[in-house]
């Protein structure tokens, strides 16, 4: 009898494990603790972080590993968001994009300012406590979209080619 109970329990445990979704990859929602009062995730700042510098300036002044606060507009290509990861590119607000009346279907690709974009673009990846990118699309949990103006706070990573990536721990969506 004991044997049967043990076997049944093992089977139930196996089934429970087997039914669990996922392949061991850290899923986004598990990392996104929501504040019930504000309705925001742990990555969204309550107030705008101070001392934000535009992307172009940051590309000139920021060193590798330095803490940095950047302001920019989500864009730089026709698809600025990375599907399945909380990562996207931002462009310096000084770079103009197509006005509404021009009828451009994707003004966030800055198609008329491609040369200016090269010196005024940065990649932002929202990282969890362990420094890994959150595995959830930023549009799904940060309420951002193309041409949203954001302020991000995190650690800068520079390479020899001058590329700037920010491993951001906080993001603030500017309403203006």
């Amino acid at each position: 009898m004991k044997m049967i109970v043990c076997l049944s329990l093992s089977l139930v445990a196996l089934l429970a494990v087997g039914c669990k979704d996922g392949t061991g990859v850290a899923e986004g929602p598990s990392h996104n603790r929501y504040d019930l009062d504000s309705g925001k995730t742990q990555y969204e700042a309550e107030t705008e972080p101070a001392g934000a510098m535009p992307v172009g300036e940051a590309r000139e002044k920021t060193e590798d590993g330095q803490d940095v606060t950047l302001v920019g507009l989500i864009g730089g290509s026709s698809e600025p968001f990375v599907k399945g990861l909380a990562a996207f590119t931002i462009v310096d607000p000084k770079v103009p994009y197509c006005a509404d009346e021009e009828g451009c279907p994707t003004p966030w690709d800055y198609c008329c300012e491609t040369d200016a974009v090269k010196q005024n673009i940065a990649t932002v990846k929202i990282v969890d406590d362990s420094g890994k990118p959150v595995t959830q699309d930023a549009r799904e949990f940060l309420n951002v979209k193309e041409l949203s103006k954001v302020v991000v706070k995190g650690k800068a990573r520079r390479d020899d080619q001058g590329n700037l990536t920010v491993a951001a721990s906080k993001i603030f969506l500017k309403k203006d």
Binding site: S78, V82, L85, I121, T123, N163
Partner: protein, 384 residues
């Protein structure tokens, strides 16, 4: 009381010439529907099976959706493998395929030819392009090519001109065909493959068009995409291969919509042809219909009998077309901008073709039958 089933069947045999002509007209309409639906299904199938869930394509961000326009640095594959550990690695070989891909004028020995799709490949390509199977001959050596199952169709040439041992000419060089390959209906089947180094020499190019990576189950395309976003200086973009072909499906959406519109137009024209035929058939039988009413058959029973005749004829026409479509049309190669694909008469095509056929029978028979039944019996009996 309904008219006997045999009455309708025998009626068809009473006027063999008219019945045969109606049958041919209906079969032609249904055949046209089969051709258009088979075309749409073939195109959809070709794009659906072309992508591999585990393969991610890396190409130039400036080429938009067209890989033929892409140009990326030759060092990109080594950069990707050094920076990312997501690609499958077996027996010391990383499953990453650098490729040069372009559309160029190809001429066969027979003198015909057209715009062909040529891909410069390496030995790692079949590891990534897992659907590709060498069906005849050998992997290409120097100055040799292997041709896809539909390459001849793409060039508007004959299969004999693309046989092993024959040669083709492109980029100012002659290339001997060393083998033939199939890819389960995928888009590569309309391509010509040669050695990457040879193709770069012939085209005087040192760059690549794309890098295809086979990802291990633990990694995701998002990681490659993130790498491309971070290395903005390389101007790369990454996309899962299935997503790439899904975007092509969107690209060809107007073509598919137009094709469905043609189906509706052909069906509409078919219904009018059926109406014309049935009006003629019923007009010559006004006295017979009135006699049936006088004998005591209800209008509904006569109507059902006339519809039965129309449906029988339409069903026969659909069957005839279905057999012809399955035996002669199915698998026929069609040349298209993106390459070539085969017309596909599958269950959906059969269902739509036969459905339209039966609809022609019902809709074609109803109005003339109703018109004949509306007339006064006494007047109709005197009709000439």
């Amino acid at each position: 009381m309904l008219l006997p089933w045999e009455y309708g069947v025998r009626n068809l045999a009473r006027r063999p010439m008219r019945t045969a002509l109606t049958l041919v007209a209906l079969a032609t309409v249904v055949m046209l529907v089969f051709v258009v639906v088979g075309f749409i299904r073939g195109l959809e199938q070709s794009l659906t099976v072309s992508g591999d869930e585990d393969v991610v394509l890396v190409y130039s961000v400036n080429s938009e959706e067209n890989i033929e326009n892409s140009s990326i640095a030759a060092r990109t594959p080594s950069l990707l493998t050094a920076s990312l550990d997501g690609a499958v690695k077996r027996f010391g070989i990383t499953n990453v395929s650098p490729e040069l891909y372009l559309g160029t004028r190809v001429k066969t020995d027979e003198g015909d030819g057209g715009l062909g799709l040529v891909r410069g490949v390496t030995l790692s390509t079949p590891l990534v392009r897992r659907r590709v199977k060498l069906t005849e001959g050998d992997w290409p050596g120097d100055g040799e090519v292997i041709v896809g199952r539909l390459a001849a169709a793409k060039l508007g040439s004959s299969d004999d001109a693309m046989a092993i041992g024959q040669s083709v000419e492109f980029e100012g060089r002659r290339w001997q065909i060393s083998g033939r390959f199939a890819a389960g209906g995928a888009a590569y089947e309309s391509e010509i493959w040669c050695k990457l180094g040879d193709f770069q020499t012939a085209t005087k190019r040192q760059d690549l068009s794309l890098v295809a990576m086979l990802l291990s189950p633990q990694s995701s395309a998002a990681e490659v995409e993130l790498f491309c976003k971070e290395r903005t200086d390389l101007e790369l973009r990454a996309i899962r291969e299935t997503d790439y072909y899904a975007s092509l499906q969107q690209h060809y959406k107007p073509v598919r919509l137009l094709a469905w519109f043609v189906v509706v137009l052909v069906s509409g024209a078919g219904i009018f042809a059926g109406l014309n035929m049935m009006y003629g058939a019923v007009a010559g039988r006004i006295r017979e219909i009135a006699t049936l009413q006088a004998v005591g058959y209800r209008r509904r029973a006569i109507l059902i009998s006339l519809v039965q005749e129309g449906v029988l004829l339409a069903a026969a026409g659909s069957l005839l077309s279905g057999v012809i479509a399955l035996t002669m049309l199915n698998g026929m190669a069609v040349r298209f901008t993106m390459g070539a694909f085969t017309i596909r008469i599958d269950s959906v095509a059969i269902l739509i073709g036969c459905g339209v056929g039966l609809l022609l029978g019902v809709l074609g028979a109803l109005p003339p039958a109703l018109k004949a039944l509306r007339a006064e019996v006494a007047t109709s009996l005197k009709a000439v």
